[in-house]
Each structure stands twice: as structure tokens, then as C-alpha cells.
Amino acid sequence: MKLPKVRELSEAVKALLSKPYTSKFPKKPHQPYHNFRGQPIYNQEKCVGCLACEEVCPVEAIAHEDQVDPANPMRIMIHYTDTCIFCGSCEAACIADNEGIKLSTEWDLAFFDRKASQETIEKELQLCEICGQPIACKDHLKWIAEKIGELTYSSPTLYLTRLKSLGIVDENLISASRDYGRSDRVKILCARCRRESTLSTSTK
């Protein structure tokens, strides 16, 4: 039964003479393929702070915290790396053309301190001018205004945010309409205050 042995011997000789199959990690760094699903990274310019990624995450690895300090209102979104399963649902659900949070090819994520394994992003928050509760992030309101075009002018919240960001509206214009009792309707309001100011004529 010599013949089968020659077949295996040729493979053994070939394996002996060629270089090892394994790579030289960790002497040489490992570069995964460009498709590899690694750590999600937030993009400060593109992210609008809409919380869609938080809603859709299957393992609840994204949380947010709203700071309603009137001097510096901020929304902080936190992505917990130790819970993430790298599925890509957040990237697929992102409304800013899938660019607000994107999966990079970073794979070396081991840590010693569990509290430090987070990715955060801070977005400026827009507060209601009457009650002080958060409405949405400023970038999110601008995104909606751009998306619905001329329909923006149906809601003072939307058009005032947009025009303020363009620098067209300032305090002079708003104070001129301040004394007729309906001035609350031309302010940036949260949904509850807007309903109350439309339905009743008294100001708070």
C-alpha cells in the first residue's frame, strides 16, 4: 500500500518547505479587511443627536443623558463598548445618511477599566423658551428644516431655529412682536407649550 503514502508525502514536503502559515502577529500589526465590522465611531459634524441608534440597538448598548443647564444645554450620547455586538444596526438606522455613527475597523478593544470603555459625543441641545425642557438637538431641528423645504414655515420652532443658524433673526425682530399677547406663538417651544399657547390666549 505504498501509493497513498506518496500523495501525503508530497503534501508534507510542500508544507515543510513553504513558510509558516501563521502571521507574525504581534510583531507585525494585524490589518483586517476594509469590510471588517469593528468599533462604532461617532462623527461630530454629521451626527444630529436624534437617538435613533439608541432605539434600534438590540442590546441597549447606547444611552443618553440630557443636561438642562440653561447656560450650556448639552445632550451626551454614550456608546458602551463592552456591551456592543458590532451588528451595524445603529449605522443602518442613522438618519444622517448613515454617517453619524459608522463602524470602523478597530478591533483591539481590550481594557482594564470597565468604566473607561465608552465612546461619547456631545451635541448642543435646544431648550423650550417657556418651560425649559429639552425639545431636540439644534442640529436635528436644522436637519428637519432642510428636509421639508418650504413647509418649515408652518412651525415657529423650526423656522426660527433655521433662521437663527443663518444669522438672519436676532433679538430686535422678536422683541417687536412681544407685546400683543400672542407673542408666545412666535417662540421656540416644546410640543406641550406650543399646544397651550395656540389654544389659549393668555401668556404664562
Binding site: 500500500m1 497513498p4 500523495r7 501525503e8 503534501e11 508544507a15 502559515y21 483586517p32 479587511y33 469590510n35 471588517f36 465590522r37 434600534v56 438590540p58 442590546v59 455586538i85 458590532f86 451588528c87 451595524g88 444596526s89 443602518a92
Partner: protein, 394 residues
């Protein structure tokens, strides 16, 4: 026939997996075997009811690491069967490619383990080296070596980049010559013939009575395969054969799996070269109330999912049935009457995916001597060496 009892496992520090083997033996022959499972039960059916249909796919993917495509495939087909609706053509081809890639890597994994149980450690190392090429192909196409996150009720999540496909095809072609050599080496080897032929025979009547599935039953002459009987995906548009043999012993099961690897490679190449253009997702918005059933031919047999929806965005009931659930009880008819040294390879020839079936531990009500998993593997390797010495091959 020592009367001392040596229990080893299931939570012993020296074991690789939680296994608790106990067989009732009389001399060298096994007289009774009993199967006791439940060490890895994670309550996935109850967990599915807390997640939405889309999020549930990720839980289902992690039922098993080796068959990480079979369960989402069957689940998405079940959800689409509630409505019922057909996914776009390009999505079907993408799903088929990933499913066949998984079949190749699963069969190669099993082949390596079978070599390890028999004492052929070289086969173990070489086959797992070939398997690395397939895992690289899966990383190029889907982003990860296991847990591909590519299935979604209504289509697929990610598209294949046309620039990656030539590299994937080159990698697949690079393993075919070595696999051919391996196939000839296995089918001609006299030690394997002496070791594996005629043991662990599962007759055709028993295969039908236990409702066995997959290569376990195809080796016994039962010509059933979900891909041919109820075609789905791209299986009816590519050209491939079903492998069926007649004898039902362990050798035939090895042969069926090795030949299936070649068929899967054929399907993968055809799908990658003929990807139709178009949409990849139907964007299903809501699932009406109803029931749906989805089945897929996993590497081990037919995976069966039953989903009931009550109109909300969460499943009301999700039943998962892995193929090993129907294949494992067949060990009662294949192991009884064989020697202890053959017990490991017969139990392994069913290709038990413990994670899919909530783990397996073998226990009898009264055992005369108790062997652990490591002991059984050692006995099996010693028998191969005895056969080698008898045939004059060193």
C-alpha cells in the same frame, strides 16, 4: 467489569466541555446508553418574545457559533411566511452564498474533529488550515468570521461589494486541489476502512422512525434534503447534486460530508459569478397577525422555526428546533452492541452541535463503570494504533 464508580464531569476542571459520559458496559460491549441534556439551556425562546422581529435576529444568530447562518435563515423565512412574501432575487443569491460558505466551514471543522478522535492529528491540523481560507472569505464578504449579521426579515442588511468578489473566488479556488487530495486519501485509506466500516449502522427503518435528518439520514439511504424538496433561495437556479449513500455506517457518513463540501463550493462559485442586480431589501414595515414556518438545510440537517405574531412588533411565540434534537436519540440504536472504543466516533458521527441542542451528557441509571470524555477519546485513538500495527503499517 470493575464495580467502582468514577464520575468525571460535567463541571470538572480538566474537561474541555461539560460532558458527563456514563455507559452501561458488559465486558467491552455497550449494553445501554442514556442521553441527558440541558446544561447549556439559555431560554432563547422566551427571550425572543421580548425583542422586536428585527432585533430578535441577532439573538437567534448566537444560538450556535458553527451554524450561525442556519437559524437566522430559517427564522427570516418563517417571518416572511406569515405575510407571505418573497424576497428580491439579489437577496436570495447573497443568502445562499453565505449559507453554503457556512456549510463548508462546518463540515471541515467536523472532519478535523473526527481525525482527532481517531488519532489522525495531522488531518486535524491540515483541515483546519484549509478552513482558515473559508473564514477569510466570509470576513471579506460579510465583515466577520462568524455571526455574519446579514439576515433580516425581508432581505439582507448589507450588499456584496463587486470589487471584493474576485479575491473571494481566488481564495475559494486555492483550497480545491488540497481538498481533492484529502478526499482520495480518505476514501482509499485501509486503516480507516478497518476502523469505520460496519460500525454504528443506522438502518433505514430506524432513520425513518426516529425522523433523523441531514447527512445522518442521507448516509442511510433516505434521500431527503430541504434544498431539493422545497426549494428556496437560489438553490433551484444553480446546478448541484444531492449526495446519498446506502449503508448507514460511520464511514458512509464521513464520505457524505466530504462530498457535500465539493457541492457547496460549486454552489458558492456559481452564485458569486452570477449575482443579479437589484434591490436587497423589501423594507417590511409591519407584520400582520398569523403564523409562519421556515425551514433551512443546516450542515447537520433541517432547522425548523415556527413564529406566531399577534400584530404587534414582537413575536408572540417562537419555536426553535435544531437538527441535532432529532439526530441525537438515534444513538440509542447505533451505539448499543458496539465496543467502548468505538463509542466516541459513533457519537461524533451524528455531528452533535451541543449549543443548538442545549448540550449533551450521557448518563445511565445504573452504570458499572463510568468513563469521561477524555477517556473515551483515548480509547478510540488506541484502537486505531492497534489496527495499524496489525496491518503492518507503522
Amino acid at each position: 467489569m470493575a464495580k467502582s464508580v468514577i464520575p468525571i464531569g460535567p463541571y470538572h476542571p480538566l474537561q474541555e466541555e461539560p460532558e458527563f459520559f456514563t455507559l452501561t458496559v458488559d465486558g467491552e460491549t455497550v449494553v445501554d446508553i442514556d442521553v441527558n441534556i440541558g446544561y447549556n439551556h439559555r431560554g432563547i425562546e422566551k427571550l425572543s418574545e421580548l425583542k422586536t422581529f428585527d432585533q430578535s435576529t441577532f439573538v437567534i444568530e448566537r444560538i450556535c457559533g458553527i451554524c450561525s447562518t442556519s437559524h437566522p435563515f430559517a427564522y427570516t423565512r418563517a417571518v416572511e411566511d406569515i405575510i407571505p412574501v418573497e424576497v428580491p432575487e439579489r437577496a436570495k443569491y447573497i443568502r445562499t452564498t453565505i449559507a453554503e460558505g457556512e456549510r463548508v466551514h462546518s463540515h471541515l471543522l467536523w472532519l478535523g474533529l473526527a481525525g482527532h478522535f481517531l488519532g489522525y492529528n495531522t488531518v486535524y491540523m491540515w483541515v483546519w488550515k484549509l478552513r482558515e481560507e473559508i473564514l477569510d472569505v466570509m470576513e471579506i464578504l460579510s465583515g466577520n468570521r462568524n455571526n455574519y449579521a446579514i439576515f433580516k426579515p425581508g432581505g439582507v442588511r448589507r450588499d456584496f461589494n463587486p470589487d471584493d468578489i474576485p479575491l473571494a473566488l481566488r481564495k475559494i479556488d486555492s483550497i480545491v486541489p488540497t481538498l481533492n487530495k484529502l478526499k482520495k486519501a480518505i476514501i482509499d485509506d485501509p486503516v480507516l476502512h478497518a476502523r469505520l466500516k460496519g460500525i454504528g449502522i443506522l438502518t433505514r427503518e430506524d432513520a425513518l422512525d426516529y425522523c433523523a435528518l441531514g447527512p445522518t439520514s442521507r448516509a442511510s439511504g433516505v434521500a431527503k434534503d430541504v434544498r431539493k424538496d422545497a426549494p428556496y433561495g437560489a438553490y433551484d437556479q444553480v446546478d448541484w447534486d444531492m449526495i446519498v449513500t446506502q449503508n448507514g455506517d460511520v464511514f458512509e457518513k464521513v464520505v457524505v460530508r466530504v462530498l457535500e463540501v465539493f457541492e457547496s463550493i460549486k454552489i458558492m462559485k456559481q452564485c458569486l459569478m452570477n449575482l443579479p442586480p437589484g434591490e436587497i431589501d423589501l423594507n417590511i414595515k409591519n407584520i400582520p397577525p398569523g403564523e409562519g414556518i421556515g425551514a433551512h438545510e443546516a450542515p447537520r440537517g433541517e432547522t425548523f422555526h415556527y413564529v406566531r405574531s399577534d400584530g404587534t412588533n414582537r413575536p408572540a411565540r417562537h419555536k426553535v428546533r435544531a437538527p441535532t434534537f432529532m439526530n441525537l436519540p438515534t444513538c440509542k440504536s447505533t451505539v448499543i452492541g458496539e465496543t467502548i472504543s468505538d463509542a466516541t466516533i459513533i457519537l461524533a458521527s451524528v455531528d452533535p452541535c451541543y449549543c443548538c441542542t442545549e448540550r449533551m451528557a450521557v448518563r445511565t441509571s445504573e452504570g458499572k463503570r463510568i468513563y469521561g470524555g477524555q477517556d473515551l477519546i483515548r480509547l478510540s485513538q488506541e484502537k486505531t494504533q492497534r489496527i495499524r500495527r496489525k496491518m503492518g503499517i507503522k
